[in-house]
Symmetry: C2
Subunit: 526 residues, 2 copies
């Protein structure tokens, strides 16, 4: 499909800047045809001013109207599936099957938020009715609900060009919350971004949404993102990417005259603990499962298992052998960009220069550019505990085996961990009883704790937490995947002594939307 | 009642520092007897280390156990009511009646959180059950709930020595959430703080709570607070006080290696809009109501109405006359501290040096030190709109009348406002219909919007929002009063593929706690 290379400012296209950049096919190293115009400050301000003006209208839309809008975006995306997947594959090197799956995930996510809006109970409505006879003072009528924050800046991620990008979780949840959105497209897939942006605009027009409900700005330089964060009309930021990028946005936002929330999901190492009992029983399938999880999507998942903690057992050697063999015969695949592949190699080298770290298996390099070759490293827990650098993310298909001597060393490794998105424990029932303390320690470190599985694969559902303590994210109180993500972009307000006619429907006496409410302290479902 | 002047580090008392300070009776200017030992870094670290160790035990307590603890604190406070109110009156100059009311509010607040814990539904439990037949991938079992963040630092406020101090809203909600608490006592009422701290410790012992669940450190210098915010074991901060103090804590927390949330409620000017229709009808009672609200507690309420926006009408003059007369005959009362009284006078002078601002009425100065004399200033909206300094808080019994020329000027004033805790509109039904846009503008500026009342008086209930956009607070997504305050100190976690026996009760298949849950997207009340 053709792309224009222009920025999308509300319902208009704009290419006022002189700086252009190109997408590159990472598998071939060749650059693609379209020149993308980096947004200039004037264009960014225009997008944000449109978003502010649109917000005063969009925030008044009913749940039904917003639900239809999200569903229409999903419809528009399905209509361009073939062209979109084709261009996206060129820009990212990801296989068609994966991209089709990702598109399905994205449209499913939009539809899931539509069900949340139709249900309506997400606003946490609270009603306390008046009591004029109360002593010593009469009790006033007070009613609370969540309302949208304002225009939101979203930064597309490179590793999920559909699910965590222009119409991904951040945009879907912000639009669901009632916020307008200005997306900064990731420069690794500008064409994909433009196509998705156009689909959103088409949906906005079909649904009579205001001009400015959505905009998309292009840019390869850091200045574009900074201009978004610094604009006083922007009220929150969603970001998925590197620690460095996310932390820079966080710092920038904290320095504003009016600080704003930054939801930066910055990835993590997702430690996997294999306990003795299960290792004895299932060392082979565990090793194969780990090998698959490590290599999924060329290791380019936020939840990739970068550390695997092993007990000291005869079977640990068998586990390692299986893992080594599985990786040794594996073929590399194309990474998303040359710079990601460079960083992967650089980070591996950095680890391997440490005397205590050994490389114990390495995969086969396939033809093509930007190949991410799988690699397994190992280190003793004793050394791991002395060097915090070993806990840093190596974004790519590798894991560091941490060999422990005994139970107390396993516990020490757990206690030493920073915040991560996930932690995984493999164990039999007896293991898990014996290591109950391990689970308690890990609870304080992560957003998702999983047993006898692998962390790659983040289910979009009501219960998902894709988040976790710093440095996994800049705000552990929130999730960036799942329906709970909507409250990132809202705040509570209460109305005191309002006549029924002036209250929002969510808070009216008759509860016309039939939503869950807390009425005088009681949870009431119609 | 006697006080020791010592810091309370878990279950022990400590006075290792050599710096001491004294409380002062603001009404007499005389200092009280007890020397309070400022906590030294070692003591602060000890309190926080105890809080961390206690947290691993306290967070496992059931809702029922925590509820009993909160109720026992309330009981212990009631038992010392007479002595506590007596000492507090000496330290703050506040009348006994007010302090008894405040104690009732504080104990009521503790009991209200106990009911929230017994109900148990506050944890936002979400259950998505597995579906092994789902295509293309099986659906895993995932369950989410809120868990406590860790040790919390609380800064007592001076203006509500019981309700927003040692056992106030921040401590109550943090303990309810499952967090341990280290309080920095406000140096204006150190003895009151010690007595309340001892009551909490007595309750902790009676309820078998771990040593370190609560600590209290004293200090008159900024270093004590800084040491709390900088300690890496502290996971959140609660604060009520000045903009300068709150913003400094926010900046300090953002600079930490691991940034943490700071909930600083920094007060605001709480604009009151009087619309034409109601002014014609009720100018006299409105003026009297405003006079009372402005002078309540010597104007030392976060929600004190500091700006009153008036339309241009004959009746506006009558309103002003009533207000002037009411204030002119009013007697001043003692402010909380000499420095608050100094700042009040200084801020008034700063406003009055502006050529466009007139002082139109001033109250009578009563005998005694630190008297806060009521004063009414006025300015034209035209000038108000040109000078943002006029929107700054003058903490004390004054309000600035902003005289508008027409409806569009009323709207312009509303649009120009920063974030505030509250906004108030007085209007007839017709006024409110005609000024529907005004309400919509104000919705984006405040945490609480009230009609035909006065903002002083913050009801402790489920629907209250005591918060609002910056600069009223540093986190508009939260409230510091009301039961929703509990989620300031929690974050979500999800458990994937857990056997029922290992899940927290809140998430077990049979829902043994009988709480509200979102089960596969449906809200389910047992």
């Amino acid at each position: 499909m053709n792309t224009s290379g222009k920025n999308i400012l509300g319902f208009n296209f704009s290419s006022q800047g002189e700086t252009v950049f190109f997408a590159k096919n990472p598998a071939t190293g060749y650059k693609l045809e379209t020149a993308y115009h980096e947004a200039i400050p004037k264009e960014i301000d225009e997008a944000i001013t449109l978003a502010e003006n649109a917000f005063t209208l969009y925030r008044e839309k009913t749940g039904e109207e917003k639900a239809l809008f999200l569903e229409t975006i999903a419809e528009e995306l399905f209509q361009i599936e073939e062209g979109l997947v084709g261009l996206c594959a060129q820009e990212t090197g990801l296989p068609d099957g994966r991209l089709k799956g990702e598109l399905g995930r994205t449209t499913g996510q939009l539809k899931l938020f539509a069900t949340v809006l139709r249900n309506g109970s997400w606003v946490d409505a609270r009603v306390d009715t008046a009591d004029s006879n109360r002593k010593p003072f009469p009790k006033p009528d007070i009613r609370q609900m969540q309302i949208a924050l304002g225009p939101v800046g979203v930064f597309g991620a490179s590793n999920f060009p559909l699910a965590f990008s222009v119409a991904g979780g951040d945009t879907a949840s912000a639009l669901a919350a009632g916020c307008t959105v200005v997306v900064k497209a990731h420069p690794a897939h500008p064409g994909t971004s433009e196509l998705v942006g156009k689909a959103i605009i088409a949906a906005a027009k079909r649904c009579n949404m205001p001009d400015g409900v959505f905009s998309l700005v292009q840019g390869a330089s850091i200045a574009v993102g900074q201009a978004i964060v610094r604009n006083p009309l922007i009220k929150a930021i969603g970001f998925t990417g590197s620690f460095r990028g996310g932390k820079a946005l966080f710092d920038e936002a904290a320095k504003r005259e009016e600080p704003i929330p930054v939801y930066a999901e910055m990835g993590s190492v997702n430690p996997v603990f294999v306990l003795p009992g299960i290792l004895k029983k299932n060392h082979q399938t565990l090793a194969e499962g780990l090998s698959n999880s490590v290599q999924l999507g060329a290791g380019q998942f936020c939840t990739n298992p970068g550390i695997t903690v092993l007990p000291k057992l005869t079977e640990s050697n068998l586990f390692e052998d299986t893992l080594k063999n599985s990786v040794a015969v594996s073929e590399s695949s194309t990474m998303l960009t040359e710079s990601i592949q460079d960083a992967y190699n650089r980070n591996l080298e950095k680890l391997k220069t440490k005397r205590e770290v050994a490389s114990i298996s390495i995969g086969k390099k396939a033809d093509g550019q930007a190949q991410g070759v799988a690699e397994i490293l190992s280190v003793s827990a004793n050394h791991f505990l002395k060097d915090k650098e070993m806990e840093e993310e190596v974004f790519g298909p590798s894991t560091l085996l941490v060999r422990t001597e005994d139970k107390s060393e396993i516990m020490d490794v757990a206690k030493s961990l920073n915040g991560h998105l996930t932690a995984t424990v493999h164990g039999t029932q007896e293991d898990l009883e014996e290591y109950a303390d391990l689970l308690k320690i890990l609870e304080r470190k992560v957003g998702r704790l999983l047993l006898n599985g692998f962390p790659t694969g983040v289910e979009v559902c009501h219960s998902m937490v894709h988040g976790g303590p710093f440095p996994a994210t800049t705000d552990a109180r929130m999730t960036s995947v799942g329906t709970a993500a909507i409250t990132r972009f809202t705040r509570p307000i209460c109305f005191q002594n309002y006549p029924d006619s002036l209250l929002p429907d969510e808070l009216k006496a008759e509860n016309p939307l039939n939503i869950l409410r807390i009425e005088n302290g009681n949870y009431v479902l119609p």
